[in-house]
């Protein structure tokens, strides 16, 4: 039972992160490969603040949310003026820099060995140290985020960022500020992934730079490719499937040192297969 609940908690956390990726990449067409870094900033913020007892869990989550929104903004401001392909390179640079910071700011982040013993989320005086208790929190956060995601997508702002993906020049001709909308969506997206990072730290109680490197960014992209771009369902299905994969591999009779590389190979094959046969993903719209 705990095994299944753990899987569910992880899937919910990645669903939050996928909504963030979907807003940025799927809807607005800002092809970011630094989502893993922002996810990590959320996780480290909550990890550091609660581990050192500098803040309670809810306050640390709020800090993660704000910090991730601001980081995404800071990244966005110079980079969003850069068109399409160049942004990929810029965000790749940010991802590399973030990993270097996580690795080398040893005093705060614990360096390569990571942060161990992050306390479980404490909400209303209760420690959510059991998956069953944690799942209640993560489900509530996910439900609220899903509602917001849905509201944003159907709002006039949602229409605007969809239009930006299609044709920025035509949006400019309409008298709209493309830059302002991109800044707005970067902040929103940062908040979603910040929440995900904070929950991740609280749930696993151990975080290290390897969880937020370029592979993590690619995993987050794979999730919306598989699940589907620009839909709520896609943001839930992708993470549900891809976080199940390691669990399935762990019960199969494979040597444990082969499970990791095999997982990466399967992720890669899935990306190729979806691009070839179903580019819109399982429950998405055309990318």
């Amino acid at each position: 039972m705990n095994f299944f609940l753990s899987y569910l908690a992880i899937a919910e956390i990645y669903a939050l992160a996928s909504m963030s990726t979907n807003l940025l990449v799927g809807v607005t067409g800002i092809f970011s490969v630094s989502q893993g870094a922002i996810f990590g900033i959320g996780a480290y913020t909550v990890g550091i603040l609660t581990l050192n007892d500098w803040a309670s869990f809810p306050v640390a989550m709020a800090a993660a949310l704000i910090l991730c929104a601001l980081t995404n903004l800071a990244v966005a401001l110079p980079a969003l003026r850069i068109a399409g392909d160049y942004f990929v390179v810029t965000s790749f640079g940010i991802q590399i820099a973030a990993t270097a910071v996580f690795m080398n700011l040893t005093d705060i982040t614990g360096g390569a060995s990571g942060l161990a013993g992050v306390p479980p989320p404490n909400v209303f005086g209760r420690d959510l140290d059991e998956p069953g208790a944690f799942i209640l929190l993560s489900s509530i956060v996910l439900a609220a985020a899903a509602l917001f995601f849905w509201l944003v997508l159907r709002s006039p702002f949602g229409r605007l960022i969809n239009a930006i993906r299609e044709d920025e020049l035509a949006v400019t001709a309409a008298g709209k500020s493309v830059l302002a909308a991109k800044v707005g969506v970067s902040a929103l997206s940062g908040m979603f992934v910040g929440l995900a990072g904070g929950l991740y730290a609280g749930f696993l109680s151990f975080i290290d730079p390897g969880s937020f490197d370029i592979d993590a960014s690619i995993l987050l992209l794979t999730m919306i490719v598989v699940g589907g771009a620009r839909t709520l369902a896609g943001s839930l299905i992708g993470p549900a499937l891809l976080t199940a994969l390691p669990q399935v591999l762990s019960v199969l009779p494979i040597p444990s040192d082969a499970a990791g590389p095999l997982r990466q190979i399967l992720y890669g094959l899935m990306l190729i297969a979806f691009m070839l046969f179903r580019p819109q993903g399982i429950a998405g719209r055309r990318l």
Binding site: F148, L151, V152, R154, S155, P156, F157, G158, R159, L160, N162, A163, R165, E166, D167, L169, A170, V171, T172, A173, A174, G175, K176, S177, A181, G184, V185, A187, L188, R285, R286
Partner: protein
């Protein structure tokens, strides 16, 4: 109102070795349709780009109702009431016909990214209001029955009507149309001409890039003849079309 409605004076623009606009001057009267004609490469689209703030001229200025546009961004210019279409349409292909129009509706606060979260009910009311406004524009151009369709399923003629619908949504009083009739079937052409004349009767002003002299004669109150970035002549359509010298330039004689 001081001076002419829209006044382009001495505008020049050079791209590398190409003089796109060369001391280009003309004026537009309110409530009229002015056609911009001239051979390919004469600078017609550059004129649109300068008026709407997409490019900044090297010299000269554009004034609209007495205000200098030349240093303004395209956002403010649309806000003042000028909106342009594109020769290659630039519709939002994956969005519905209706959404193509709603995105062009002006907005102050309803496109704020946090509004759907902070004020969900208000946002929903605004969404409905915008959809109704867009729908009534689609009815005006005769595309209401296609409101839910994807743009890529529209015929070319319908797509061009949708471009005009977007400009109407912007609330602009001066509409700049870049080749609105090119590539249209006879029937679609008549629908386009009827729409433009109807909008003119309702008080809108037009600057239209048009190649077909017969259409120019049907639409235009005034014709601006552009050649190598310079205005060679401005006047009544009959006079411009009848001028043998301009005809020779236009149909590829003297260069």
């Amino acid at each position: 109102m001081s001076g002419p409605y829209l006044d382009v004076t001495g505008v020049s623009k050079r791209f590398g070795g190409l003089q796109a606009l060369d001391d280009c001057s003309f004026a537009i009267e309110p409530g009229q349709i002015t056609c911009l004609v001239g051979p390919n490469g004469a600078g017609k689209t550059s004129v649109f780009n300068v008026i709407t703030g997409f490019i900044r001229p090297d010299a000269g200025q554009v004034r609209f109702r007495g205000q200098v546009l030349t240093r303004m961004g395209s956002r403010r210019i649309v806000g003042l009431g000028i909106c342009r279409s594109f020769q290659n349409l630039r519709l939002f292909a994956d969005l519905s016909v209706l959404d193509n129009v709603t995105v062009y509706l002006p907005s102050r606060t309803d496109e704020n990214p946090f509004r759907p979260i902070l004020r969900p009910i208000r946002t929903e009311i605004e969404r409905k209001r915008r959809m109704a406004a867009a729908m009534s524009i689609l009815e005006e151009v005769g595309l209401a029955h296609r409101a839910r369709d994807a743009v890529r399923n529209l015929s070319y003629g319908e797509q061009k009507l949708l471009c005009v619908a977007r400009l109407m949504a912007s609330g602009a009083e001066l509409l700049l149309l870049d080749e609105p009739t090119s590539g249209l079937s006879a029937q679609a052409l008549e629908a386009m001409i009827a729409l433009v004349l109807r909008l003119k009767a309702a008080g809108r002003t037009f600057l239209v890039v048009e190649h077909n002299t017969r259409i120019v004669q049907r639409l235009a109150d005034s014709v601006v003849f552009l050649h190598q970035g310079h205005v060679l002549a401005q006047g009544e359509p009959a006079a411009i079309v009848a001028d043998p010298k301009l005809g020779e330039i236009y149909f590829g004689g003297a260069l």
